[in-house]
C-alpha cells in the first residue's frame, strides 16, 4: 500500500468522529428524552398528590428530590403556593375581586389555591456537554411547569 497521508488522515478523523463523538451526541438526545418523560411523570404525580391531600410534608419533598435526581441531568425545582384571596373593591359597595397572593407557607393548602411547580435543568450531563461542545448538536433542555388549582 502506498503512503497516502491525506487519505489516511481523512479516514482517521472520520473514524474518530464516528466512533467517539457521534454516539455521545445520540446518547445525549436519548438521555434527554428519557429524562423528560421521567420528570413529567414524577411532577404530575406530585402535583396530583398535593392537590388531593392539600398538604406537603418534608417526607414528600425528600421523595420528590430523590425521584427527580434519578436522571443523568442535573435538575432543580421550585414549589410555589399562591393563596386565593377575595377582597372587596374599594369604593364600590358589594363588588369583589379575586386575586392570588404568593405565600411562603407551602405545608398546607386551602381550596382554590394555586400549586405551581417548576422543574428545570441547571446544567448538562456529560454526554450532553460533550455533544454540545464538539458537534454543536442542539440538545433540548428539560423544563416543566405545572400549575393546578387545589380542589
Amino acid at each position: 500500500m502506498t503512503k497516502n497521508y491525506i487519505g489516511n488522515a481523512l479516514m482517521l478523523s472520520i473514524t474518530v468522529f464516528l466512533v467517539f463523538v457521534m454516539p455521545m451526541s445520540y446518547i445525549g438526545i436519548i438521555e434527554t428524552a428519557k429524562a423528560q418523560e421521567h420528570i413529567l411523570n414524577t411532577t404530575q404525580e406530585f402535583v396530583d398528590m398535593v392537590t388531593d391531600t392539600k398538604r406537603i410534608t418534608q417526607n414528600d419533598l425528600d421523595k420528590l428530590s430523590l425521584d427527580l435526581s434519578a436522571t443523568t441531568i442535573p435538575i432543580d425545582f421550585t414549589i410555589m403556593r399562591e393563596m386565593k384571596v377575595i377582597n372587596p373593591v374599594p369604593g364600590e359597595l358589594g363588588q369583589t375581586y379575586t386575586t392570588y397572593v404568593p405565600v411562603d407557607d407551602i405545608t398546607t393548602f386551602n381550596t382554590g389555591d394555586f400549586l405551581t411547580i417548576e422543574v428545570y435543568q441547571v446544567g448538562k450531563s456529560f454526554s450532553q456537554s460533550f455533544a454540545a461542545s464538539l458537534t454543536k448538536t442542539y440538545v433540548p433542555s428539560v423544563e416543566v411547569r405545572l400549575s393546578k388549582k387545589v380542589r
Binding site: T2, N4, I6, G7, L10, M11, I14, F17, L18, M22, S25, Y26, I29, T32, A33, Q36, E37, L40, Q44, V47, E82, Y100, G112, F114, T116, E118, T135, T137, Y138, V139, P140, V144, R145, L146, S147, K148, K149, R151
Partner: protein, 303 residues
C-alpha cells in the same frame, strides 16, 4: 488516494450525515411529544378547575330538592377560571391581557355542557375597530324531534320539555330510555364541537387541522352525563415549525350528602346514617361526616 479509499470514505461520510440528520429529527420529535403531553396535562388541569369553580362560584345554581342533577351554571366563571389556570401554567403574569391572549390566540373552541344545553365560546370580532373577545353563543338545547313533538332533553334524564302543536309542557313519561337520551345529548355536544372546530379550521393559517389524539379517541371515554367543560387549544410551538394541539375535558357533579345522626341507646353514644337510624331512638345531633361524629364521641351503631 486510491479510488477504493475515496469510495469508502464517501460512503462512510454519507452514512454519518444521514444518521446525524435522523438523530436530530428524533430529538425534535421527542421534544414535540413531550411538549404535547405537558400541554395535555395543563389543559386538563385548566378544564378541571373551570368545571369545579363553575359549580362553586356561580351566583345561583337554581337547585331544587326534587332534582339534584339540575344546575344552572355561569359559563363566564368557567372560561375565566380556564384562562387563569392556563396563564399560570404558561408562566405569564396574571392579568386581563394574558387571559385575552390565551383565549384569543390559543383557544379556538371552549364548550360548556350545562344541564339542559351547551354553550360554545369562540374568538369573535366585537367592534368595527377589530377588537376581539371570546364570546359565548346562545345556549343550544339538546333537542330531539319525534313525530310532531320536539323534545328538549336534559341531563337529569327524568323529564323533558316538549313542544307540540304550539304548546309547551313538561313530560315525565319519556318514550326514550336513559341510554338513548344520553346518546342524543352526546351526539348534540359532539356535533356542536365538531362544527366549531371545523369552522375555526377553515380560517386557520395552515388551512388544515390536526385532531389531537385524545380527541380522536374520544369514543372510548365516558359519556357526558354531568356538567362538563371542554377546551380545544392550538397554536403552541414546540421546536422548529412544529405546532401542537391538545384537548381537555373536565367534569363535575353535585351529590347528595348523607348525613349521620347521633343518638343514645342504653346510655351509650352511637351514630348511624340518617336513613338507617334504628326505630324508636331520638336523634340528638346531626353531622355531615362520620369523622365529625366520631370526634364528638359517638360510636358506629352496628346492628
Amino acid at each position: 488516494m486510491s479510488l477504493a479509499q475515496m469510495i469508502l470514505g464517501a460512503i462512510t461520510l454519507l452514512i454519518s450525515i444521514t444518521m446525524h440528520i435522523k438523530m436530530i429529527e428524533y430529538g425534535d420529535g421527542v421534544t414535540a411529544r413531550f411538549e404535547e403531553r405537558k400541554l395535555e396535562l395543563q389543559v386538563n388541569y385548566a378544564t378541571d378547575a373551570a368545571a369545579q369553580e363553575m359549580v362553586t362560584d356561580s351566583a345561583d345554581l337554581g337547585q331544587d330538592y326534587e332534582d339534584l342533577s339540575r344546575l344552572s351554571v355561569d359559563p363566564m366563571v368557567a372560561i375565566d377560571t380556564f384562562a387563569t389556570v392556563m396563564v399560570k401554567n404558561l408562566g405569564l403574569p396574571l392579568n386581563n391581557t394574558s387571559k385575552q391572549f390565551v383565549l384569543l390566540e390559543h383557544t379556538p373552541v371552549f364548550l360548556v355542557a350545562a344541564t339542559d344545553g351547551y354553550y360554545i365560546a369562540t374568538p369573535q370580532k366585537i367592534n368595527s375597530s377589530g377588537s376581539q373577545d371570546a364570546v359565548f353563543g346562545i345556549k343550544v338545547p339538546y333537542t330531539y324531534v319525534d313525530g310532531g313533538k320536539t323534545y328538549a332533553l336534559n341531563l337529569s334524564l327524568k323529564q323533558a320539555i316538549v313542544f307540540e302543536n304550539g304548546r309547551i309542557y313538561k313530560d315525565y313519561n319519556l318514550p326514550l330510555t336513559h341510554d338513548e337520551q344520553l346518546r342524543i345529548i352526546n351526539t348534540k355536544i359532539a356535533d356542536g364541537l365538531n362544527d366549531a372546530i371545523f369552522e375555526y379550521a377553515r380560517y386557520s393559517p395552515q388551512g388544515y387541522l390536526y385532531l389531537p389524539k385524545n380527541f380522536t379517541s374520544v369514543y372510548s371515554t365516558n359519556n357526558v352525563d354531568t356538567t362538563t367543560v371542554m377546551a380545544y387549544i392550538d397554536n403552541f410551538n414546540a421546536g422548529l415549525d412544529v405546532n401542537i394541539q391538545a384537548f381537555g375535558i373536565g367534569g363535575t357533579y353535585i351529590k347528595n350528602n348523607r348525613p349521620v345522626v347521633g343518638f343514645i341507646i342504653d346510655g351509650k353514644k352511637y351514630y348511624s346514617y340518617s336513613d338507617e337510624t334504628p326505630q324508636g331512638v331520638t336523634p340528638i345531633e346531626v353531622y355531615d361526616t362520620m369523622e365529625e361524629a366520631a370526634i364528638n364521641g359517638y360510636y358506629y351503631y352496628l346492628r
